[in-house]
């Protein structure tokens, strides 16, 4: 090979492991030292440039790019480096550097092929797109995609310029605007990779593809959708879809649409320059900063915790929608689950709920049907207490009544082994009180999943007074193993997420009683960036549940909470929300409409005031939580609000929002509201000064 590589280098030429037939194909392996994954940074990119210079000397007939990491190809650009970029010009420069280096993969004069096994995302996927060919492994870890928009930016190493030519404009826009990651099956279907083989044959397949490209270079296909008129229509539809989804608060997807279209209309140099400029600009936007902050938090949350052994048994008590969801994600992640209920009738719907969670979890798997069947068969249902002996974790998700839960927990403690972790999915009872019935409360912990379990990425880990540190670590490890972000919170009413939601929902009823309309309040919250307004959320949760929680809060914090008369009246009238098809809205076919007779707007409250009243009470509650130690840090508030209640991610979470707006200013506004609307707005003493 051309050059012997130095000790610390990331990119090395490796001799072919394939033997004679592949002579002339050079394998360029990326194996970043001292890092669990390969990242594209200024250092690794410039080293790649040197290697590509060597490749251009004419000795080789083709280059295959491969990874030295076991389970990943290239995990993208270095997010820490992205976070450190502090000016538009710096961003443009970094982007252009990456473009220049990676672009050479397509201008070497010899075929280049990316051999993808494991994560190939962001900058990694862009590198692959610059190659002449791409082959991928069937592994479940193989994922290809462009998640940059989730960080508020666009692909900056030429991804938006190469992708449309490879997969066509509609698919390119779809990938770039959603950040969706594709498994090998989907990647092959849309033409993002040329072929998919088992990892054992990956290098041989890459070499074969390289020789094939040597004989007949792939030419970009003519596509109907790339005709000028069609192209314009496609982009218009995509823009409208993006706007409908994000309401215009996220600039990055719109930029992605524009850039993808540009790739078909201007010469490459100009397209790339536009891309670099867009990246530089977006990177400095508050949206990107908020999203990057959230990303940083999720990275931290995924570390820590002691992971459960593989193929563990998870016991689930209660075959409701929560229990079935937990069982479903557990088996989809390779564990076994056993669900117990007292009623046979509950098991059928539970099996269906779990099966949906499994299908969702395995939809990108290469052998999807077999994987789904195997996952389903790791799930068993029972009405009896046997079969939990070997469980590593048992989660209780039965009806929210202390006596029932005590009985269930006592029964299960007698049925499990000594090392089994016991958890409750309660949302309204105290973990400490629940633990009182147990002989070994040190292994008992709250593990609060959110509904719907397969979709909601947050789990609150709630230690009771007797819970051991080891139990908390194991519970967090389980949350991570099930694909969730754990956040440790104190055993206080509502824990963290519901505690913060409560003033927000309570204030929504105050607004309603004060003359605002249902739709008006929801619209104000949605304009702020919430995925759904408070009343829509209440209808989904169920008003009976809301009333129960509200009464708990009114008892715990009598000065600040009361149960709204409107809520009580609705529940008494049997209007419980979506499940009874009538709540604050009427749910029928089509869109839900506000129910008649309920708070038709009398137009007395300004939009800005609705927003302040909803979110400032939430902010004040967050200040209290932090002061009382309900959560460990302000970062936890951000993580929990974004992941647990859908607080607008572009604001970076509730606490970051407070910081951005200025605590002094918000506090003053709260004082003002307290003067006009009552003591519930009076800010607590713990408000920060800065």
């Amino acid at each position: 090979m051309t050059a012997a590589s130095g000790g610390g280098s990331a990119w090395t030429w490796v001799p072919s492991a394939l033997g004679a037939p592949d002579e002339g194909v050079a394998f360029l392996r990326f194996d970043q030292p001292d890092s669990p994954v390969n990242l594209l940074s200024e250092a690794t990119l410039s080293e790649l440039a040197l290697r590509l210079d060597e490749a251009a000397t004419g000795e080789h007939r083709a280059v295959v790019v491969t990874s030295g990491k076991e389970e990943s190809f290239i995990a993208g650009a270095d997010v820490d480096a992205i976070l450190a970029v502090d000016s538009v010009r710096e961003g443009v420069r970094a982007s252009a550097l990456g473009q220049d280096v990676l672009r050479r993969l397509s201008t070497l004069g010899i075929p280049t092929v990316a051999a993808i096994h494991g994560a190939c995302v962001g900058g990694g996927a862009e590198l692959a797109c610059w190659c002449d060919g791409r082959v991928a492994s069937t592994s479940d870890r193989t994922r290809i995609g462009f998640p940059e928009v989730r960080l508020g930016i666009v692909p900056g190493f030429g991804g938006t310029q190469t992708l449309p030519g490879l997969v066509g404009l509609p698919q390119a826009i779809g990938l770039a605007t959603t950040g969706r990651l594709l498994g090998p099956r989907a990647a092959r279907r849309i033409g993002l990779v040329d072929s998919v083989v088992h990892v054992d044959h990956l290098l041989a397949e890459a070499a074969r593809r390289a020789r094939e490209l040597e004989r007949s270079p792939s030419r970009s296909r003519r596509r109907f959708v790339h005709l000028p008129g069609v192209r314009a229509a496609v982009t218009a539809v995509a823009r409208r879809r993006v706007l409908a989804r994000a309401g215009g608060r996220y600039p990055a997807p719109l930029e992605a649409v524009r850039l993808c279209r540009l790739a078909l209309e201007v010469e490459p140099a100009r397209g790339l320059a536009e891309e670099a400029r867009a990246l530089g600009r977006l990177l400095q936007s508050p949206t990107a900063r908020g999203l990057l902050h959230v990303f940083d938090l999720t990275r931290t949350a995924k570390r820590g915790g002691s992971p459960p052994p593989p193929d563990s048994l998870v016991g689930v008590l209660g075959a409701g929608v929560m229990g079935a969801g937990i069982a479903g994600i557990a088996v989809a992640k390779g564990h076994r689950a056993r669900v117990k209920d007292v009623q046979a009738e509950a098991l059928g719907p539970a099996a269906r709920t779990a099966a949906r969670a499994i299908q969702r979890g395995l939809r990108q798997a290469w052998d999807r049907d077999v994987a789904t069947r195997r996952a389903l068969s790791r799930l068993s249902f029972t009405l009896r207490p046997e079969g939990f002996q070997r469980a590593d974790l048992v989660v209780e998700a039965v009806v929210e009544r202390l006596d029932v839960k005590h009985a269930v927990l006592r029964e299960v403690e007698a049925a499990v082994g000594d090392a089994c972790l016991l958890a409750t999915n309660t949302s309204s009872l105290s973990v400490g009180e629940l633990a009182a019935c147990l002989e070994h409360p040190e292994r008992f912990v709250g593990l609060h999943f959110f509904n719907p379990v397969p979709r909601m990425p947050l789990v609150e880990v709630v230690p009771g007074p007797a819970t051991s540190e080891d139990t908390v670590r194991r519970a967090a490890g389980w949350a991570i193993a099930l694909g969730k972000h754990p956040v440790v919170v104190a055993d206080a009413p509502g824990f963290l997420v519901n505690r913060l939601l409560m003033p927000y929902l309570a204030e929504a009823f105050e607004l309603l009683e004060g003359g605002a309309g249902v739709a008006e309040v929801d619209a104000a919250a949605e304009a702020f960036g919430m995925p759904m307004g408070p009343f829509r959320l209440l209808d989904e949760v169920g008003l009976d549940v809301a009333r129960h929680v509200s009464e708990t809060f009114a008892a715990a914090f009598p000065t600040r909470f009361r149960t709204s008369d409107v809520l009580a009246r609705l529940v008494d009238g049997g209007r419980l929300g979506r499940k009874t098809r009538r709540g604050l809205y009427r749910h029928g076919r089509g869109a839900a409409r506000p129910d008649h007779g309920l708070g038709r707007s009398r137009g007395r409250i300004r939009d800005g005031e609705i927003r302040d009243r909803l979110f400032l009470r939430m902010a004040d509650e967050a200040v209290r939580c932090l002061a009382e130690g309900t959560c460990r840090s302000a970062d936890d508030i951000d993580l929990a609000t974004v992941m647990g209640m859908g607080f607008p991610p572009f604001r970076g979470g509730l606490w970051r929002h407070v910081k951005t707006e200025g605590p002094r200013e918000l506090r003053a506004r709260l004082e003002g509201l307290a003067e006009r609307h009552g003591e519930r707005f009076r800010p607590c003493a713990a408000w920060p000064e800065g």
């Binding site: 076994r336 056993r338 046979a344 009738e345 098991l347 059928g348 719907p349 539970a350 099996a351 269906r352 779990a354 099966a355 069947r373 195997r374 389903l376 068969s377 790791r378 068993s380 249902f381 029972t382 009405l383 009896r384 046997e386 079969g387 002996q389 070997r390 049925a415």
Partner: protein, 452 residues
Amino acid sequence: MTPAGGRKKTARRRSTPAKGSVREAVVVGGCRTPFGRAGGVLEPLAAHDLGRLAMVEALARCAVDPGEVDHVVMGCAGMPSDAANPARVAALLGGLPQRVPAYTVQRNCASGMEAVAQAELLIRSGRADVVLCGGMESMSRYPAEFPRSFRLKVASLLRAKTPWARLGVLAGFRPADLRPEWGLQKGLSDPSCGLNMGETAEVLARELGISREEQDAFALRSHERAVAASDRLAEEIVPVPVADTGRVLGRDDAVRPEQSLEQLARLRPAFDRRHGSVTAGNACGITDGACALVVAERGWAERHAARRRGAPQPLARVAAWSVAGVDPRRMGLGPARALPMALAEASWSLADVDLLEINEAFAAQVLAVLRVLEEGDLLQRHAGLPEALGAVDPSRLNVNGGAIALGHPVGVSGARLVLTLALEMRRRGVARGAATLCVGGGQGMAVLLEAP
């Protein structure tokens, strides 16, 4: 010298009983799915899915780890075409370790009982301590086939080289070529004698003079007993949720609580429309289901019960078993020959048997067996049937109802009879029980159980 911990545990040592004694097999426990009417709630599940559910639950109820099982033997009469060895497929899906071998047995209606017999053999011979055995059947999923003529024509179409030749073959296709042949229908017919199972029951009814009224009364009794026993039967059942549909089967759904003699009398004969007496009402129903039992070496089971938290005491010892051949045209008489053989092996008399389960393939067939047991071979046609053994006390026979009410998933019933019998013996605290069934093709099989 090998360090103490260095020895690899490659083969597990079988527990050896004290010198001179025999390794005995005991039923530790078991469980079954409800039996569901074919084409009903259980239709989405293949035989091996049902088997998997019963197996997982049987192990759980016996507090046996999957890794403790030495062998898996499951009966299945109608093999699923997508699982050549359904016992192995069910075992792997059920989380049994890959090193645990599995085989499927087919002795037609006795397949599930044959699995129990195989377990006893494996244990007695010292080849296994713990065997997971039973039966599984999805009669809903029996295939429908194209006629042979269709297959031949398709084959020649594929061989035809020129368009003209192809056209010629195509012209030879007839609508009749597309008429499906039902695996269920074919499976319930005996090609050696040309009779289907119902027709063999008609033979017995005719020859032994068993009236329609007797048959209907017996059928009604089966339903009544099954209804009365529904809480007891629930103890042996694990409910089956079906993920595809969100439905659940918690009870045997072929049992008719409202059955009356008048309704039974109104049914038309199913096999001999003009002169017959066997109807859908006094024959067993077509159902899906599975049953699994943990059968273990007695010493192993006793130690297991003593050491493992939640482990049950063994239910019953397998005292003897037998299989016998009879005239295929009178296959229903199989128990009349197999039961005496088993009793002789155990040196029991019929009067020693406290509880008797005779599978109710047809009311006429059970009544025929009872008559032959009581009076000997009336017509002297079946050289080899033993002398009269005595009358069976109806209060000891099929006390929780039988296949006429519950249904007869062919490969499962043999295992279900053993499970139901063992549990009822424990409930009543009686010492001896027998389960026996007739087998399509002219066989009979019996298993004797004794309190451990």
